[in-house]
Amino acid sequence: MQRVFNGFLGLGKMGGSRQGAPHGFTVLEAVFASAILAIGLSGVFQLSAGSMAANQSQRNLVFASGLAQNLAECWQVNTAICLSQFQASQLADALSNEAGVQFERSWLITSISTSSKDPQLLQNLQISVKWPRQDKIGSSVELHWHIRRASTPTWVGL
């Protein structure tokens, strides 16, 4: 076998080789080593890519759920800002996170029928948040969030 790499990393001189014997690695050894390294690195690359994609996807999901929960909380308190946001029963708005992903949030308020004279005693808020998928161009992910609210007041004193 012809020696092609002499003294690579100094390994060729290790091991007490005999005088006159050619030093270095065989092509076959180098090919094997490279193949193992390539397989290993491709596995590592895939793992990293997978974990990054999962991380990004989860980040988007957390952001979307945050948008939904924020709106749901706002619906349950009667502050001026929140009241102005819900003047119409159905609306949509667009928001983006720090990575530039666009989120579209829409909601719908419906009344649930009860035996009360007040038709709005029990209401349901349905929130939908949609954002594009990172791994599939043209498709999107949607998160649905539901919350109910009774108009029964709280006694807070005189």
């Binding site: 080593a33 193992i36 390294l37 290993g40 009860t114 919350i147 029964t152």
Partner: protein
Amino acid sequence: MKSNRGMATLWTASCLVFITSLLAWMTLQSVMSETKRSQNQLHTAQALAISESLLETSIALIDSTYSGQNVAIDAAFWRNASQSQCPPKHASLQWQCLRWTGAMSPFDKGIAALAWPDSIDTSNSFVLFLRDVKLAPHKVKIWVQVSLNTEQAGSGSRATVQQSVYIPISSPWVAPELQTPPPIDTKPCVPVVWQKLFGSTSPAQLKAISEAQTQSGLSSQTKPSRSVYWIDSPLTWTQSLGTQGEPVVLIFSSLACAVQCPEIATQAAITGLVYFQSANACQNPVPQLFVQAEAARFEWPTGIDATRVQRVSGSWKNGGL
């Protein structure tokens, strides 16, 4: 020795790959555990939102049941309540507990149960209505436990919330001001004595409280004992009731007094208040008064409008009883 050199190369390459893979694996594990944690947090938030929705549904159910209705609806609402449905901490007879599951409505036909929110595993979720029929029959605690169903990503995630509401089953008692009674011929007949003793709590409300205590299993022999008795029978009363620590209110209704108010046997000692609801209370307003009607006065916040259902401020809690 040549083969040894090859082995060293392979060994080194393998070690590098192994170490790199190990690092990558550890990074992946870290990312995945963070992802999992984040997912669990999302599922918990979802379960909490659903449990709040069910709590609001339960409050709306109580509101629609009691508001603008005859107080007799109280008995219909609690008809299927039982001690066995109470949690261990509320094992005493004075607690009335009613468990509402998604699979079965415990209410009478006159009460329309509301639909539960979607996403709930009805076999593992419930609403528990509790109240203390002796000390606070006007305050209902609603305890909700929810588990997400298999259609949800976070299947099995649980959340528990609770809140209390005031129901219009009694009224705050306010000491009446002393004033000269209006002439009978110019004003409509007002049973002044009833108001003096029970305030604006109506006879129907006290009757409902009496029925609630009976339904709960309270009697003169139990611990704690029953405190409100609404009697429709004209027969002579022979039972001794009440102690200094636990006085009673005994009301003989207009039905019992239709012909002649019933007598109380001489051997019957009653510690508390005996009230005869004469057919014409204006003409016969004198009750047999031993002590004040404490047993029929319940704690209300000052100035509250007790005619409608209201949430008790600060009673919302995330967690078990």
